[in-house]
Amino acid sequence: MKILVCISKTPDTTAKIAFTDNNTKFAQDGVQWIINPYDEWYALVRAIELKEKDPSTVLHLVNVGTADADAVIRKALALGGDEAIRVNADSHDSFYIASQIAEVARSGGYDLVFTGRETIDYNGSSIGGMVAELLGLPYVSLASKFDLNGTTATITREIEGGEEICEVALPVVVSCQKGMAEQRIPNMKGIMGARTKPLKVVEPTAVDALTSIVSFELPPAKAGVKLVSADNPEELVRLLHEEAKAI
């Protein structure tokens, strides 16, 4: 069994969002970088659990990024995984990134590819579907549970207003969300061990991006809250009905 987990580097969830260069670039000053929470808490931790259950499992991580992603990749390796592969490229186009991951997945012959449901910076929700299509594999998105029985996976996925349970024979690409696993904190042994795990750097394959970022903008500021007295909460309902026309 070979598992590939896709790891993206994103700003910390509390990072201040601002832009530079005439609103064309994210302002990175003072920003803490983390593993995209969906990739870490759900995709990676579930993959580690599968490896704990079957220690013969080979677990690799893949990142598409420049050398400044290495610290985040080492953090992921501290949680678990045998080795990491970084495709040495800088791009914000989903198709370009998915093409690089698909190339790594194809040459590595993985049975299972896990991604997070989306990154918390670009919110594309696109990588898993694109990788699956490029590999000609089935894709189960927004999975909240994943179990293996031999080479058949049983997966619970989100649908509108509920969930669906499905079965699929490996290989498969799965995007992971809450429910898959619980967040873990790396221990000292993991952190020490991560330093010596292989982090292979490979050069990207030539692919044209299909989209490009023109500019960023911040949402308009709120006018300010209108407070209603706790002694007269009926007034809130009146305002919502007559002023905001929201109910």
Binding site: N123, G129, E133, P138, G162, E164, V214, E234, I247
Partner: protein, 321 residues
């Protein structure tokens, strides 16, 4: 040349998200001086010609029961055939659960640039630039698509449904459908509840409610307002509420017309999932709760005292008392 809209359905009924996608697609078509067409997959229980009122002129229908269950691979294949049949140069999806699974596949198959999470009509004055949410709702990005075929996945609740007189021509489209590799073995729908992603009003509770036994005030108000219920991350993590109700940066991002947060302090991660709501109401006993800074209306007070009065007043407004 045309704009093709994927008309998403569940159990034979057209989803609200699809009505938004049609209204949006019809406007894009008008902007480009072309017509809007739709693609429907699987058996339906509705009159497809009537969908013309949302601005689509022609509907390609693959009336094949093999497509009654959603599967990303077979759906993508069928939609790719419809792209050929309609000669589309723009394809519109809703960025809902199904759209998130198939739009990226279609993009990779046809090498067509995709913008997912669109919140506005494209700017076609110089190329094709689409505004989308980034940083989990804390900002927007304008993305240019450089390929001849363009795909846009529209965020639910971002574009108003528009109707006019009109009937669509319905044309059967024959597509060879393979047996899906993903086999659905069970569907667990929470019946009688409004799906969070489609809800116009959402009532949400946080740790301030002290325990799951106090959720009656949330569900009661939701029932009166025809709203969906949601919760903050600590509440889902503590298993007070199911995790599909978790809204926020690592849960679901929503954009209802009205979001009522009760006993939620408004951590930045929570705000990221709800700050595109049109009207935000915060009820919290802590006047320093950061959520008040992002709110339109607020009450500084104890939810246990305030909520019963709000529910009673809402019942009056709704003619239920």
């Amino acid at each position: 040349m045309s704009v093709l809209i994927f008309i998403d359905q569940a159990e034979g009924h057209i989803k609200k998200a699809a009505l938004e996608a049609m209204s949006y697609g019809a406007k894009v078509a008008a902007q480009l001086g072309t017509t809007a067409e739709g693609i429907v997959l699987g058996s339906v229980k509705e009159d497809l010609a009537a969908l013309g009122k949302y601005g689509v002129k022609k509907i390609h229908h693959v009336n094949n029961a093999a497509l009654d269950h959603f599967d990303a691979q077979t759906y993508t294949h069928a939609i790719a055939e419809a792209v050929k049949a309609s000669g589309a140069d723009v394809v519109i999806f809703s960025n809902n659960v199904d759209g998130k699974a198939i739009a990226p596949r279609l993009s990779a198959q046809l090498k067509a640039g995709l913008v997912s999470g669109a919140v506005a009509l494209p700017d076609t004055s110089n190329g094709f630039v689409v505004k989308k949410t980034v940083f989990s709702g804390k900002a927007f990005a304008n993305i240019a698509i450089s390929t001849p075929l363009k795909i846009v996945a529209l965020n639910p609740n971002s574009y108003k449904v528009e109707t006019a007189d009109g009937t669509a021509e319905v044309a059967a489209l024959n597509v060879t459908v393979e047996t899906p590799k993903v086999k659905v073995t069970a569907v667990n729908k929470v019946t009688g509840e409004i799906p969070l992603s489609e809800a116009e009003i959402v009532v949400s509770g946080g740790r301030g409610l002290k325990g799951p036994e106090n959720w009656g005030m949330i569900t009661d108000l939701a029932h009166v307002l025809g709203a969906a219920t949601a919760c903050s991350r600590p509440v889902a993590d503590a298993h007070w509420r199911p995790h599909h109700e978790h809204v926020g940066q690592t849960g679901l991002a929503i954009a209802p017309n009205l979001y009522i947060a009760v006993g939620i302090s408004g951590a930045i991660q929570h705000l990221a999932g709800v700050n595109r709501s049109k009207v935000i109401v915060v009820i919290n006993k802590d006047p320093e709760a950061p959520f008040f800074k992002a709110a339109d209306y607020g009450i500084v007070g104890d939810a246990f005292e305030v909520m019963p009065k709000i529910i009673a007043a809402a019942k009056k407004v709704k003619g239920m008392a």
